[in-house]
């Protein structure tokens, strides 16, 4: 006997899907469609009217050196912070999984950073990394001028990467730990009895078995690094110095809301959306091949 629920008429099925469809339409397709329309026009901020300009907004953005600089900065930020956040989280999760002393405490504590709002943690890191008053002031005392995020773009970029990674280490940690604990103990014990050490067991057994989680976190981390970086940049660097940390999402905000250039910001949003889509497709197409689902 077939246990699947079936409907006598297709319209009932549609009816059940309608609430979800309305939600998606209202919160995604409608604003996205509006953004596409705005990106093809020049909008007067006060709603006095608009002019159809076709692809002019895209042309002027893509011919702007500052915008390419912003894309480079975003990719650098995404690459390094994702790498840092994932590697550190994986190491911590593996150690916690080994039931070392105090691992129960770590399991709870390491999750906290993800619960902190980006602007709040950015404020904390601003104090920690302040060159004259914070922790880095000590370093500056030994090597004067070593740390200067106010003028040195690399230092400023390092600051926001550290802050962002710190937050996502907590997030990644939860997933890694769950994945590691789902591996049957017998596998690890068998390998141990065959004489393989900790590192060997990690590379040959644990790592291959958690690749689905690694892949999932890679996609999420990269996507979030494009979107969730806003609060950190806004509080810590405001995109400076000299645009060194003007990530794409921050540039959209400052052009659109501070500069009242709604059309230019809409066009940048479309480009950012396409970039994230392309990156995600790329990851599914090429990296997922190496993932072993059980």
């Amino acid at each position: 006997m077939e246990k699947r629920v079936t409907f006598s008429r297709w319209s009932i099925g549609i009816l059940f899907a309608v609430p979800q469809l309305i939600l998606i339409f209202t919160f995604f397709y409608w604003p996205a469609g509006q953004a596409v329309y705005w990106s093809l026009t020049l909008q007067q901020p006060w709603g006095g009217g608009n002019i159809w300009v076709g692809l002019d907004n895209f042309r002027s953005i893509l011919s702007n050196a500052d915008y390419w600089n912003s894309i480079t900065a975003s990719l650098t930020f995404a690459g390094i912070s994702t790498g840092l956040a994932m590697v550190i989280a994986l190491v911590l999760a593996t150690l916690t999984d080994r039931q070392l002393a105090g691992s129960r405490l770590y399991r709870v504590v390491l999750i906290w950073p993800y619960g902190i709002a980006a602007p709040a943690l950015a404020m904390a890191f601003r104090f920690i990394l302040a060159p004259e008053a914070g922790f880095m002031a000590v370093v500056n005392q030994v090597w004067p001028g070593f740390w200067d995020p106010g003028l040195d773009g690399t230092d400023a970029m390092a600051s926001i990467i550290v802050a962002f990674s710190w937050k996502y280490v907590g997030y990644n940690f939860i997933f890694f730990l769950a994945a590691l604990q789902a591996i049957p103990r017998s596998l690890i014990e068998a390998a141990a009895m065959d004489g393989s050490g900790v590192i060997r067991r990690f590379w040959d057994i644990q790592f291959p078995l958690i690749t689905p989680t690694i892949f999932f976190l890679l996609v999420i981390n990269i996507t979030e690094s494009f979107q969730d970086s806003f609060g950190i940049v806004d509080i810590m660097t405001s995109g400076g110095p000299a645009n060194a940390t003007n990530l794409m999402v921050y540039k959209i905000y400052s052009d659109g809301f501070r500069g009242l250039d709604y059309s230019g910001a809409a066009a940048q949003s479309i480009i950012l959306m396409l970039l994230i889509i392309v990156l995600t497709i790329f990851q599914f197409r090429f990296i997922e091949r190496r993932v072993h689902y059980r």
Partner: protein
């Protein structure tokens, strides 16, 4: 949340407006006022609103802080597009050009005239009135919180190098900073080079020296104005600042680095800063015990005929699309703010200066400027009225000027980090700023500035 509240308030105001059409209505007419000040200043505005509501029974102003100037403008635009705009809104100085082209306001002078208030517009300090007036001199908005920058200097430190007066020229500043450094002061002068400091470093400097920021009289005469500060004395100024920075005479102080320049001055870490008269109270309240300091007008280069400095701050705009009853209330509110007694209240509780001559005279007569914490603030009036405003020192009327200020910060940072030369940096500022102005002009194809 506040949007919902505003919406409800607007609805309530509308209903009340209808109710008022009935002869027997006794409830006061409510109208909204959105402003961009926060913290202490927001509390002062709230008191101001309470005073207005207590002063008469016909109208009730509902004052809501939107946090800061940017947010106020953004929220007002969003509310306006949804038809839920406040009646009165505070818009910062550089938003003036955007407001003028918005078509979303009711001219302040017309509003007052329609409601039977006589305002003597020549009573406003010309430097303040011209900043907000059209090129023909009509007042579209009312100047509200106003300030201008001053040089704060540490008397104790200058006494060590045998000086009892603040330097008046930049040549003197250079020599004094060197002397302070030689006398063992680690940070003779503090500046910051973010978008915010465009105000004192570029805009005020250019006004004092009668140098243009942009063609077409700084934009007053048309949307086709383009930047030209890469050809003025400003280049020399940045070159000097950079030279002094390289020699260790100037340090960069900002909040991001741990201490902003006002804190650096108040704590005695740095001996000279240039900031708004609005910080006068803060320095007084937070200064190191027993430190002697004073304020002076910003220096000029030797041989320059000093012109008036520009006003900074914000003005009050009345938005279109409201009922007659609300406009009556708005007019009464603006008239209340215009009163010299309000000016005294306002300046006493904030660092802002009075905007009218009668307000200033009233405060002088009350002995405001003789008392210790407020003494020195009259220097701001002296700076604002140093000359009759010229075509160039009226103000700056450029579209999207917030973005040009941001570009200023970016290029100054590039210059100070030795990424580009001074001339290259300012040339890029002009090039990128012109692109912003281009875009603004394209957005308003058939419009001209009033």
């Amino acid at each position: 949340m506040s949007i919902i509240k505003q919406g409800l308030a607007a609805l309530a105001a509308g209903v009340l407006g209808l109710a008022l059409a009935q002869p027997a209505a006794a409830e006061p007419v409510k109208f909204d006022f959105w402003f961009g000040l926060s913290g202490d200043l927001a509390r002062v505005v709230d008191t101001l609103c309470k005073n207005f509501n207590a002063s008469q029974a016909d109208y009730e102003v509902v004052c809501t802080s939107q946090g800061n100037y940017d947010a106020t403008l953004q929220n007002t635009i969003a509310a306006f597009r949804a038809g839920k705009q406040p009646t009165v809104v505070q818009v910062y100085d550089v938003g003036t050009a955007t407001m003028m082209l918005s078509g979303a306001y009711k001219p302040a002078d017309k509003l007052m005239e329609e409601n039977g208030y006589k305002i003597d517009y020549s009573d406003y300090f010309p430097g303040i009135a011209r900043y907000y007036a059209t090129s023909k001199g009509e007042m579209l908005s009312f100047p509200f919180n106003s300030s201008t920058p001053l040089m704060y200097w540490n008397k104790d430190a200058f006494a060590k190098i045998g000086k009892s007066e603040a330097p008046k020229t930049w040549e003197d500043v250079g020599a004094d900073l060197k002397a302070l450094k030689d006398a063992g002061y680690e940070c003779p002068m503090a500046i910051n080079i973010s978008a915010n400091e465009s105000w004192q470093l570029m805009e005020q400097f250019s006004a004092l020296h009668n140098q243009p920021i942009a063609t077409k009289n700084n934009g007053y005469d048309g949307l086709d104005a383009r930047l030209e500060m890469n050809k003025t004395k400003f280049v020399q100024y940045v070159t000097d600042l950079k030279k002094w920075y390289d020699a260790g005479l100037i340090k960069i102080k900002s909040k991001d680095l741990g201490q902003d320049m006002v804190q650096a001055f108040a704590s005695g870490t740095c001996e000279v800063i240039m900031t708004s008269v609005g910080d006068h109270g803060t320095v007084g309240k937070t200064q190191k015990e027993g430190m002697n300091w004073d304020v002076a007008e910003l220096p000029v280069y030797a041989g320059t005929e000093r012109k008036n400095s520009l006003v900074g701050g914000a003005s009050l705009w009345v938005l279109s699309g409201k009922s007659d009853a609300e406009y009556k209330g708005a007019a009464a509110f603006l008239n209340f703010i215009h009163d010299p007694k309000t000016a005294l209240f306002w300046s006493t509780n904030t660092g802002y200066i009075p905007v009218t001559k009668s307000g200033f005279d009233y405060m002088k007569a009350q002995g405001f400027y003789d008392k210790a914490p407020y003494k020195g603030r009259e220097t701001a009036i002296a700076s604002l009225t140093a000359s009759e405003p010229t075509e160039i020192t009226r103000g700056i009327r450029l579209g999207n000027f917030t973005q040009i200020r941001a570009e200023f910060g970016t290029q100054m940072q590039a210059i100070f980090a030795n990424k580009v030369s001074v001339q290259e940096g300012i040339d890029t500022l002009v090039k990128n700023g012109d692109a912003i102005l281009d875009r603004f002009q394209q957005t308003y194809p058939n419009k001209t500035l009033p």
